[in-house]
């Protein structure tokens, strides 16, 4: 009598690698917390007109410097109090999320596209083009922290658009280096040589074959750069070089409230907490993504 043993050929651990990475990310509770914070931040930004209790730019001379609701003289009308022009702090913070999100997405997006393009060209064609592009990257990196952004905005004129461009310029080298390194590594491999032999155009090889393989570090860098972009935009606005009044931007709000530090400390405190939370969210997610997506860290 022959025994029929049914052997399953599907290994339960043999899932799609992306699913594996996502489940590893999910297990990282701090990363999930970061993702949650970011989602709240994005929802605030998108639905600001509906969530916000008041108009963020509408001034009201009757409601100047009202304290938050938990003070003796605070009311539920202005939960987080008002500033010296009677504008509601909570509304300005919610609308400020819009500005911060816009700046982060635009700056990092621009830097991502430019950096990836430059890095791919640099890594694939090597030689003189590579040297030239890397020299330019070195020059950008030769400026410490915010200095280049401050100088660019100082010369071009202080407004939000120039601030976004300035920040984008300072982030390009980060992305260029990742892509260049990846392209240099992958271009030597057999599957790329095979594509080349089959007559595929260079463009196709670069974008469809090589780039998908450096997506991991790119995603990590994008997330972490969003965090820095929010901080840098706030810093520039604090210095008067970014968002101009009456645009509600968290850094600009802190700057205005310096004179009120004794009388109305809430005007200064809450925008700072907003910045802290938003940046923390992106940093937590970025750290978690790095643990999940960076194969070098996996045991």
């Amino acid at each position: 009598m022959k025994e029929k043993t049914i052997i399953s050929t599907k290994d339960p651990h043999d899932r799609h690698p992306m699913l594996e990475q996502i489940s590893q990310l999910w297990r990282n509770k701090t990363a999930v917390l970061g993702l949650f914070i970011i989602v709240v931040f994005i929802l605030c930004a998108i639905f600001a007109p509906w969530i916000s209790p008041h108009n963020p730019v509408e001034t009201s001379l009757y409601d100047q410097l009202k304290p938050p609701v938990w003070h003796e003289t605070g009311t539920w009308k202005n939960i987080l109090g008002t500033d010296d022009l009677g504008r509601d702090t909570l509304s300005r913070i919610i609308y400020g999320a819009r500005v911060s999100l816009l700046v982060a997405v635009f700056s990092v997006g621009l830097a991502f596209v430019t950096g990836t393009l430059l890095g791919a060209i640099s890594g694939y064609f090597k030689g003189k083009i590579d040297s030239a592009i890397m020299r330019v990257m070195d020059m950008i990196l030769a400026f410490p922290y915010l200095l280049l952004a401050i100088v660019v905005v100082a010369y071009l004129g202080p407004n939000l658009r120039n601030a976004m461009m300035a920040i984008a310029i300072t982030y390009v080298p980060r992305f260029a280096r990742i892509v260049r390194g990846s392209v240099l590594e992958e271009a030597e491999k057999d599957y790329v040589m095979a594509e080349h032999a089959l007559g595929a155009k260079k463009r196709r090889i670069i974008f469809l074959t090589i780039l998908p393989n450096c997506m991991g570090p790119l995603i990590v860098q994008t997330t972490l750069s969003m965090a820095s972009a929010i901080l840098d935009a706030a810093a520039l606005s604090f210095l008067g070089l970014g968002a101009q009044p009456p645009t509600p931007e968290w850094g600009a709000m802190i700057s205005r409230s310096r004179a009120l530090i004794l009388r109305a400390s809430w005007v200064m405190t809450f925008p700072g907490i907003a910045i802290l939370l938003a940046v923390l969210g992106f940093n937590l997610l970025g750290d978690g993504l790095r643990d999940a997506l960076d194969p070098r860290l996996r045991d």
Partner: protein, 334 residues
């Protein structure tokens, strides 16, 4: 080793030139007439023409750049628009203040950061580890201009423990020799000024040190964890060495290699990032001077200050790279 150092110095030159080109182009590329930008809208035609002659604005771009470089080599960074002082002299007067602040901030971040990192690594997954790493993450996520204001609010305005701004209180007299107030007060045995200047230094330095401390702590922790996993550490433990000896005599030496690089790089970042801190605490250093220049659109200040800070940053990175090669001989062989 020497070859590596020479190579690094040679790369320095095109980088410095590149930075000077960027700074040079900035003024020329700004929308508007550079002469008018420098002198203001109400300048007379005669004054405008003088400036154009002096800066060679009528010459082709490469000739202008040549003039610019020639003046740079003679140490002439021009004059500020608003105060008509030599830019180089202004920088020289203010730089000691920035250095004083940066050195204290660096010392704080070195000590605190490495200690936090080492303890976190040796007690991995403990409450201390989680707490300090969370604090470090919060540290890099916080806007330091806001943190400075919060410190000011708590320690100066509410508790009255620390002075609110500046380098020295109004009533204190100090004979200024080196412009490093702490040093000068020691040299002149002026103990009131010594205490006062230190007191003024504390808040800005702690504020400035937040981000570097956090970065150093994380770096130290991860470097220590890497080292503690190595076989020679297991050998040391198997030999019966105490935990203390294992960490401080064997593990730390190798873990410190990337940490030293990080600390060195942070010094450069401190010098550049002092702009925000100096502005909040009215600290009369190069950072605040640059900020005032940006606010007033004093392009000579912006130009000179940027060149200066960027050059210092590049030199510090060079020193850090060379130091790293000295400590870790494997690098120079590549």
């Amino acid at each position: 080793m020497l070859a590596y150092i020479t190579r690094r110095i040679l790369i320095l030159i095109p980088t410095l030139l590149g930075v000077s080109i960027i700074v040079f182009l900035m003024l020329r590329l700004t929308p508007g007439d550079p002469a008018e930008l420098l002198l203001g809208e109400r300048a007379t035609e005669k004054a405008l023409n003088e400036v154009r002659e002096h800066l060679g604005l009528n010459e082709p771009l490469h000739v202008q750049y040549g003039l610019f470089l020639k003046r740079l080599s003679q140490g002439d960074l021009g004059e500020t628009i608003f105060t008509r002082q030599k830019v180089w002299i202004e920088i020289r007067q203010r730089f000691p203040a920035t250095i004083e602040l940066s050195i204290l901030a660096l010392m704080i971040s070195c000590c605190l950061g490495t200690i936090l990192g080492i303890v976190s690594a040796t007690k991995q997954y403990s409450i201390f580890d989680y707490a300090s790493m969370l604090a470090a993450l919060a540290g890099v996520s916080m806007p330091i201009f806001w943190l400075g204001l919060i410190f000011m609010m708590i320690f100066s305005l509410n508790l009255g423990w620390l002075p609110i701004s500046g380098r020295l209180s109004i009533g204190i007299d100090l004979e200024v020799i080196t412009n490093f107030y702490v040093l000068d007060s020691i040299l002149t045995a002026n103990w009131a000024a010594f205490k006062d200047s230190l007191w003024h230094l504390i808040m800005p330095a702690v504020t400035l040190s937040t981000i570097p401390t956090a970065i150093v702590a994380r770096m130290t922790r991860s470097a220590m964890l890497d080292v503690l996993r190595q076989d020679y550490i297991k050998t040391a433990r198997a030999k019966g060495l105490s935990q203390f000896k294992v960490i401080y005599k064997h593990a730390l030496r190798n873990a410190l290699i990337p940490v030293v690089t990080t600390i060195g790089l942070q010094f450069g970042v401190l010098l550049g990032g002092a702009i925000l801190t100096e502005t909040i605490f009215a600290w009369p250093g190069v950072g605040k001077w640059m900020y005032d220049g940006v606010m007033q659109r004093d392009y000579m200040v912006i130009q000179g200050g940027t060149l200066f800070i960027a050059s210092i940053f590049i030199f510090i990175n060079l020193i850090v790279d060379v130091l790293y090669a000295v400590i870790n001989p494997r690098i120079s062989i590549q």
